[in-house]
C-alpha cells in the first residue's frame, strides 16, 4: 500500500482513496483526424514501461476528485513526490532537459 500526499487536499492519504490514471504527460497528437494509424496507436498503447522513476497521474477519487502527478519508482515503490499538473510539468520538463 502506498501513502500518497494529495497536493490539493495537502494531506497524506491511503492509496485506497486514489485511482491510478496511467503515465503522465503523454502528448496527444494535435490533429487526430489526419494522424496516421500507427502514430495514433502509439499514442494510445505504447507507454515507456520504465524500471525506475516513473511520472504517473493519479486521481483523488474519494477526496477532492482532482488529478495530480506522482513520481514513483517502479523498482522499489518509493514515491519521489506529488505535484499538481502545472507544477509537475515544470519538474518533468527540467528532468527531461537534463536527461
Amino acid at each position: 500500500m502506498f501513502v500518497i500526499r494529495c497536493p490539493h487536499c495537502c494531506e497524506v492519504r491511503e492509496e485506497e482513496e486514489f485511482s491510478y490514471s496511467g503515465e503522465a504527460f503523454v502528448a496527444r497528437p494535435s490533429a487526430p483526424e489526419i494522424e496516421s494509424d500507427e502514430n495514433w496507436g502509439d499514442y494510445l498503447f505504447m507507454k515507456r514501461n520504465v524500471k525506475g522513476w516513473h511520472w504517473e497521474m493519479w486521481g483523488h477519487s474519494s477526496g477532492c476528485r482532482k488529478f495530480f502527478v506522482v513520481k514513483r519508482n517502479t523498482a522499489n515503490h518509493s514515491i519521489g513526490g506529488a505535484w499538481s499538473l502545472t507544477e509537475a510539468r515544470k519538474e518533468y520538463d527540467a528532468e527531461e532537459a537534463n536527461a
Partner: protein, 213 residues
C-alpha cells in the same frame, strides 16, 4: 379504453418527499442517548444542499460570495465553517457545499445567484442528492475505524475530509458531539447497513435529534 374519470385520476400527481433512509423507520425508533449503547446514530433528514463552484483565484468570485453570505469562504484545503444559515464545506479547490435547513435553500440559492451574476461560477441545488448521518457515543470512532481508511486522529472540529467508507466515498467531519457523515443519497442504504453491522460489538442505538442541522 380510457374514460374521463380514469384520466382525471392519473393526472393527479402527488409527489411525496422521503429521506433516503425512510425504509428503516428511524424516527419511530429514536430514543434519548444513554449509557446502554456504545454507538448512537441517526439520519438528519431532508436538509438543503447547495453546490457552489468557482475559481478561488478570482477575487471577484470570493468577494461576491463573502458579501452575499456574510462569511469568509473557507479556502484552506479540508476546512469548513459554521454560520448563521448552516455550514459550508470545502470539497475541492473549486467546489464547496452549503448545508442549510431545507426551507432556506431557495433563498440562499437566489442570494448567491444574484451576487454571482456575470462571474464565472456555478450555484445549484443538490438537495435531492445528499443526506447526512450523525454518529455519536463512546465507541463512535471505533466504528469509523472499521469503515474508513482515514486516520481519524488527524480529524478535528472545523475540518472536513473526503474519504472512503467501505466501497463508497463520503465527506466526514467532526463536531462537538461526535461525527457527521455527508454522502450521496444512493449510498444511504449501503452506508446505514454498514454502520449497523460495524456497530454490533458495541451496541447500536438510534439517537434522538436535538434540532440538529
Amino acid at each position: 379504453m380510457f374514460n374521463s374519470s380514469q384520466s382525471n385520476q392519473t393526472s393527479q400527481f402527488k409527489p411525496v418527499m422521503q429521506s433516503p433512509l425512510h425504509p428503516f423507520g428511524l424516527a419511530a425508533k429514536q430514543e434519548k442517548v444513554n449509557g446502554t449503547k456504545g454507538v448512537w446514530a441517526n439520519e438528519v433528514p431532508l436538509l438543503g444542499y447547495i453546490s457552489l463552484r468557482g475559481n478561488v483565484q478570482n477575487a471577484a468570485f470570493i468577494n461576491a460570495v463573502n458579501s452575499a453570505l456574510g462569511i469568509s469562504l473557507p479556502t484552506q484545503p479540508c476546512s469548513m465553517l459554521d454560520s448563521s444559515f448552516g455550514s459550508i464545506l470545502w470539497l475541492s479547490t473549486d467546489e464547496w457545499l452549503l448545508i442549510c435547513p431545507r426551507e432556506q435553500r431557495a433563498t440562499l440559492q437566489k442570494l448567491l445567484e444574484t451576487a454571482l451574476q456575470g462571474i464565472h461560477s456555478q450555484v445549484f441545488d443538490n438537495s435531492g442528492g445528499f443526506t447526512s448521518v450523525i454518529l455519536q457515543g463512546k465507541n463512535a470512532s471505533d466504528v469509523l475505524h472499521h469503515c474508513t481508511v482515514y486516520d481519524l486522529s488527524a480529524l478535528q472540529a472545523g475540518k472536513v475530509v473526503g474519504t472512503t467508507f467501505g466501497k463508497v466515498s463520503l465527506f466526514l467531519q467532526q463536531d462537538k458531539n461526535g461525527y457527521r457523515l455527508v454522502f450521496r443519497r444512493s449510498f444511504a442504504d449501503y452506508i446505514w447497513r454498514y454502520l449497523e453491522r460495524s456497530a454490533l460489538p458495541y451496541g447500536f442505538g438510534i439517537a434522538q435529534l436535538n434540532d440538529e442541522r
